[in-house]
């Protein structure tokens, strides 16, 4: 079985601080892969490297068998790597539907992207079902800037899915959500199609264990351990790391 995404020996330095020091990672088709680790372990930096917004000083990122190291975030998104940000990033003055339409456009064929009247069809056939799935149908015509935090998070997931991702990068999707919203988020993520692989960065271990089938533990910019949730849960090494690094 070949990996969908392979990260080889990636290093990132901020001045004298090594955020990532030779990290290897492999995400397979349809895998639910979680990245955990104490604060400052380099989780978000690794997502940035995979997403293309941070260029590593060393190492390779291979996606679907091709080295994407030279591509920026936009080009990677067009190849199927989509990203959910720590702070929900939506287009504030656009309506929820428009947000999803904008996100859907790049993966369409050029003809369909610019076909006259196609925008309404995209809105109906692509955005409508996604908003429905996220429970956002009622607010479809509301500017995204007016949505509540939880709704914006859901909207961002809808946008990511509209881009027909092969790999979804989730950066602390539960941050700032209420308990009810977190429950709904877990349902949403569990219901994602198996064609979409997920790489999840999350502090809350209960979510990690509920959502993932593989867990990689980062610490001080290195891979500390990797395995199934059960293996990680019982690993003394990981307990030790968390006792040191996380409240």
């Amino acid at each position: 079985m070949t990996g969908l995404l392979t990260v080889e020996d990636v290093s990132v330095r901020y001045g004298s601080l090594a955020a990532l020091a030779g990290v290897d990672l492999c995400v397979h088709d349809g895998q639910r892969h979680a990245l955990i680790g104490p604060n400052g372990a380099g989780k978000t930096t690794l997502l940035n490297v995979i997403g293309g917004s941070r260029k590593p000083q060393h190492g390779r990122v291979i996606f679907e068998g091709r080295d994407v190291g030279r591509l920026g975030p936009a080009a990677r998104a067009r190849r199927g790597i989509n990203r959910i940000h720590q702070r929900p990033a939506v287009f504030a003055t656009l309506t929820a539907t428009e947000n999803v339409v904008v996100a859907a456009l790049p993966r369409l064929t050029p003809r369909r992207r610019w076909w006259p009247g196609g925008r309404r069809r995209i809105a109906q056939h692509r955005a409508g079902p996604l908003l429905d799935q996220m429970g956002l149908t009622d607010v479809a015509t509301v500017p995204a800037g007016h949505l509540a935090h939880g709704q914006r998070r859901q909207l961002e997931i809808a946008m990511a899915l509209a881009g027909r991702p092969r790999l979804l990068l989730l950066d602390e999707p539960a941050a700032g959500l209420s308990a009810v919203e977190v429950g709904r988020l877990v349902e949403l993520l569990q219901a994602l199609p198996r064609a979409v692989a997920v790489l999840l960065v999350e502090h809350r271990l209960d979510l990690v264990y509920a959502l993932s089938d593989t867990v990689t533990v980062l610490r001080d910019g290195r891979t500390l351990a990797a395995g199934t949730p059960d293996e990680i849960r019982t690993s003394p090494l990981v307990r030790q790391a968390y006792a040191d690094g996380v409240a």
């Binding site: 990132v12 901020y14 001045g15 601080l17 955020a19 604060n39 400052g40 380099g42 978000t44 930096t45 997502l47 940035n48 997403g51 917004s53 941070r54 920026g72 975030p73 936009a74 080009a75 990677r76 998104a77 067009r78 989509n82 990203r83 940000h85 720590q86 702070r87 990033a89 939506v90 287009f91 504030a92 003055t93 656009l94 428009e98 947000n99 339409v101 904008v102 996100a103 456009l105 790049p106 993966r107 992207r113 610019w114 925008r119 946008m159 881009g163 950066d171």
Partner: protein, 339 residues
């Protein structure tokens, strides 16, 4: 429901304003008509400034460059090839678009104050070239004696202020209508999305520089067309028409009108230019003082009207990740760059 009412009201106000502008030449004197014609040309440049500043998020002081390119192209065509307005308009728009296309590599990657300074340099360089390229531009004293225009083959030439004004009004109405229609398409949607959050737009897989280049060229074409209107309205052009004070006043006018709204920008730019021209006539020697006080007062009268200038505004170091920033910080998408 309320939105619907507001939309209707806006439409009604716009229709009323347009009707007022159509009948204006029969109500006001020749001076006002002449000034209005000239103001329309400048307001159209204001629209192109708003398209870049408000819609695409690239604040510009350089739209005088394609404006000048259009004006001089129109003057050259007018004196040597054709006196048909439509031809001159097309040539001017193409000239403006070509000049804008040439400057795309300079501006498309820059943001905020940096774009402002690069476009300022472009505008100043354009004026310098105009002043020195005497065989074509007539040098710093400008080109006078430009032949009158006939709007279309077979129509009479525009011989008086009313005709020139109405011609300008028709052209501006058509072009502004075209811009408004364009902004309702996916192109407009993408530009607005990019203004809201450029990083997010990239993250969705969009080729943002391509869109910005397109917007820049389109704005150049509009400014170029406006240049042709200036030639018609004024029958004289000189580098002074395209100097820094013109671009500064246009940007400020657009800010007053609300950068994100094309209609607002049109009114704002027209207002600033009209007030300036009017003051120089009625208050000799005190025009800059009064104009300055008006600008200050405007900030207080319309404090919220100018708050919408956001998006890519702010310091350019912000969206780019800084080496000294914390690892956790560099992924922030910073939708609003209030520091």
């Amino acid at each position: 429901m309320r939105d619907e009412v507001i939309r209707r009201a806006r439409g009604a106000v716009a229709a009323l304003a347009l009707a007022g502008l159509v009948v204006a030449p029969w109500v006001v004197d020749d001076y006002t008509t002449a000034i209005l014609a000239r103001t329309l040309a400048l307001a159209l440049v204001g629209v192109s400034v708003a398209l870049l500043t408000g819609v695409a998020g690239m604040p510009t002081l350089g739209q005088t460059a394609p404006y000048a390119a259009g004006a001089y192209a129109c003057a050259v065509v007018g004196s040597q090839i054709s006196d048909v307005g439509v031809v001159q308009l097309a040539v001017a728009a193409v000239a403006g678009a070509v000049l804008a296309a040439l400057t795309v590599p300079l501006v498309v990657h820059a943001r905020g104050v940096i774009v402002l300074m690069i476009t300022l340099a472009i505008g100043e360089l354009a004026v310098t070239v105009l002043g020195r390229w005497r065989s074509v531009t007539g040098g710093t004293d400008g080109l006078a004696g430009i032949a009158a225009v006939r709007p279309f083959w077979g129509l009479p030439v525009l011989a008086n202020d009313q005709d020139r004004y109405l011609y300008a009004l028709v052209v501006v109405t058509v072009l502004v209508g075209a811009v408004l229609l364009l902004l309702r398409t996916r192109a407009g949607l993408l530009l607005r999305a990019g203004r809201d959050d450029e990083t997010r737009l990239r993250a969705s897989g969009h080729r943002v520089p391509l869109y910005l280049s397109g917007a820049h060229i389109a704005a150049g074409a509009i400014a170029g067309a406006a240049g042709s209107l200036l030639v018609v309205a004024q029958q004289y052009i000189s580098p002074a028409d395209f100097g820094f004070d013109t671009s500064a006043l246009l940007l400020l006018g657009v800010v007053i009108g609300g950068t994100a709204s094309i209609g607002g920008a049109l009114v704002g730019a027209a207002l600033v230019i009209a007030v300036r021209d009017w003051l120089f006539g009625v208050l000799p020697g005190h025009a800059p003082l009064v104009l300055g006080v008006l600008f200050v007062a405007t900030v207080y009268l319309l404090p919220t009207g100018v708050h919408r200038a956001r998006g890519r505004w702010g310091l350019p170091s912000e969206p780019a990740d800084q080496p000294d920033a914390s690892p956790e910080r560099d992924q922030a998408t910073v939708p609003e760059l209030h520091r």
